[in-house]
């Protein structure tokens, strides 16, 4: 298959997210209804969802969702998993057979915890250990691809329209405090199962509408730190940038947003001194991590969700609140279909992150 940059498919995308600040568990069918309304923004070449709080019975275990091209890939991957993890539970991810979704790979789920001896020997903290194992599987085991690797969360994605993907994965059987969704309309790169959104690493997941002009500059920088962009699409790199900045560098989410969507120098000049100093520092230190080109993204993480537009706001994004629920979507209608009368509805400015977290965990 040809990679990013080698092929161009001339052809927007749709994103939607729901968050319950009080932790109330929202059924997966809700997010499906929202994304389905924006059907025309997708072209059937990819749809996907991320749910948080969906595996309370295994909340302390990492949930790996894995695509396999063949049983040989599955056997090789399972040998790797057994060497590095205590596999507490494994099963096929339940799906619904339907004509709209075809050519599915083998789709498996593993609830795992690192083997203590392995973890100690690695001299890594647990999350770094997990991240490295995921990268290792995805780059060295042919035909195996871990597309979800966080605790008490999961990604579900496929080639197809998002509403069909949601039915395929029987999302109505899951419930969580946060859901994000994506309908894909690939513009530059092939539509394939691994290339559908969300892209996840540990508990971070990203859905993205847009096109990243800075992909190669971002990729070259991030690959210096052990990440490998293998998925033939630009969005993957955003997930790694977030993992690097937020988890590894310890930046706050606001700072992470100020790196990804750094204000123009002309805008920085107009800031009050303290704010200006911080903006200059972040822009200079992480110059290569500025993401240019149009984007609206939803970042899911344990206990929260962040919405962010590029600094020019070249993609649409609307947010709304009602009680403890927060909604974000590419179009207002995708919010109104779930909540006809929000208390507040607004569009965050370009580069201005909207961050919501569970009450009591902020």
């Amino acid at each position: 298959m040809k990679k990013e940059g080698q092929v161009r498919i001339p052809s927007g995308c749709a994103i939607s997210g729901i968050f319950a600040r009080d932790g109330e568990r929202i059924g997966g069918e809700e997010i499906v209804r929202s994304i389905a309304l924006m059907h025309e923004r997708s072209n059937g070449l990819g749809g996907g969802f991320a749910g948080y709080g969906i595996y309370p019975e295994y909340r302390d275990l990492y949930a790996f969702h894995v695509f396999y091209d063949s049983t040989a890939a599955k056997e090789a991957c399972e040998r790797f998993l057994e060497r590095h993890f205590d596999v507490v539970n494994l099963s096929k991810i339940p799906v619904r057979r339907m004509p709209e979704i075809t050519d599915e790979p083998l789709i498996w789920r593993y609830f795992v915890t690192p083997l203590p001896t392995r973890l100690v020997a690695s001299q890594l903290d647990e999350r770094e250990f997990i991240a490295r194992c995921v990268i290792r599987i995805n780059t060295s085991i042919e035909g195996a691809y871990v597309f979800s690797s966080g605790k008490n969360m999961g990604v579900f994605k496929a080639v197809g329209y998002p509403e069909d993907v949601g039915r395929f994965y029987r999302l109505e059987e899951y419930a969580g405090y946060c859901w994000t969704a994506h309908g894909r309309y690939p513009t530059n790169t092939p539509g394939w199962w691994g290339g559908a959104h969300p892209f996840a690493m540990l508990d971070y997941s990203v859905v993205h509408n847009g096109e990243i002009s800075s992909y190669d500059a971002n990729r070259r920088w991030i690959e210096m730190f052990g990440y490998q962009c293998t998925l033939m699409t630009d969005t993957e790199v955003i997930t790694y940038l977030v993992d690097y900045l937020h988890r590894r560098q310890g930046l706050t989410l606001e700072e992470t947003a100020a790196v990804l969507a750094a204000p123009f120098w002309s805008t920085i000049e107009q800031m009050p001194p303290k704010e200006r100093e911080r903006a200059v520092y972040l822009r200079n230190t992480f110059a290569s991590l500025l993401v240019t080109g149009p984007f609206s993204i939803l970042l899911g993480f344990t206990g929260g969700m962040m919405a962010l537009n590029d600094r020019l706001k070249l993609r649409s994004m609307v947010a709304a609140e009602k009680g403890e629920r927060v909604y974000v979507a590419s179009e207002e209608c995708a919010i109104r279909i779930l909540e006809p009368q929000p208390e507040r509805i607004w569009s965050p400015r370009g580069g201005e992150p909207l961050i919501v977290t569970l009450k009591g965990e902020a």
């Binding site: 002309s266 649409s316 209608c333 995708a334 109104r336 569009s347 370009g350």
Partner: protein, 242 residues
């Protein structure tokens, strides 16, 4: 008058509106259907709910009225007619508009009036009751944009960054005690004169009447932005700097 109830796909809805022989069409509870009233020229289309993108694109006459918010690209390339939004509108409102009028009671998003133009008797107008986002009137080539800043209390102009960037025709009226913090070189900002005000008085009256609002406006509340007549674009194309 014909009433159409929501639930239709945008193509079916568009088809029904086009086939409708009544001059007034009422849509109940629309939700995201694109292109409503596209290229219509002789209808009065009223709706509740949230119409989808490109509402009234290529509109060529008649009236579209929304009792709610509109999404992106309202009145894209419209040529004639009136669009009234009893609520707010999203990004790129009146994109490349070449005639007709858009009235928005609330706010509008980024890039309103981008590439707006005028020709002979055609002078398009956008009136925004609240605030406008960044890039208002970017590359504006003609027509009138008015931002009233009603409810704007922040001590800042009711527009975002980069207002009028690349402007080379038309005018932007800002009802504000201060100018936007940075205006591009191509833009000339002056206090509104009585003559300037008279030019937009009918638009302001139509705005107030449309939404049943009681605000009164006066010339001294406004700034007028227009292209800098020194024409800095010459510097872009000639060595001597024009």
């Amino acid at each position: 008058m014909k009433r159409i109830v929501n639930g239709l796909h945008f193509q079916a809805l568009g088809e029904e509106i086009r086939r409708c022989k009544d001059s007034t069409v009422e849509l109940c509870g629309v939700c995201g259907q694109r292109y409503i009233g596209a290229a219509a020229r002789d209808k009065h289309i009223r709706m509740t709910g949230t119409p989808g993108n490109a509402l009234g694109a290529y509109l060529d006459g008649g009236t579209i009225e929304v009792y709610g918010n509109a999404q992106d690209a309202t009145g894209d390339t419209m040529n004639e007619g009136v669009i009234k939004i009893h609520g707010s509108a999203g990004d790129a409102t009146g994109y490349a508009m070449r005639g007709g009028k858009i009235f928005i009671e609330g706010d509008t998003g980024y890039r309103a009036g981008v590439h707006m133009k005028a020709y002979e008797e055609k002078t398009p107008a956008i009136v925004v009751g609240g605030r406008a986002g960044s890039f208002l009137g970017e590359y504006q080539a003609g027509g009138v944009i008015v931002v009233l800043g009603i409810g704007n209390t922040g001590g800042e102009a009711p527009v975002g960054y980069f207002c009028g960037t690349g402007m080379h025709g038309g005018r932007i009226y800002l009802r504000s005690s201060v100018l936007p913090r940075s205006l591009p070189e191509q833009v000339c900002a002056e206090r509104c004169t009585d003559a300037d005000f008279e030019a937009v008085r009918p638009l302001l009256e139509e705005f107030s009447a449309s939404f049943g609002r009681g605000e009164t406006f006066s010339a001294e509340e406004f700034y007028v932005l227009s292209p800098n007549t020194k024409n800095p674009y010459k510097k872009l194309y000639t060595l001597s700097g024009g």
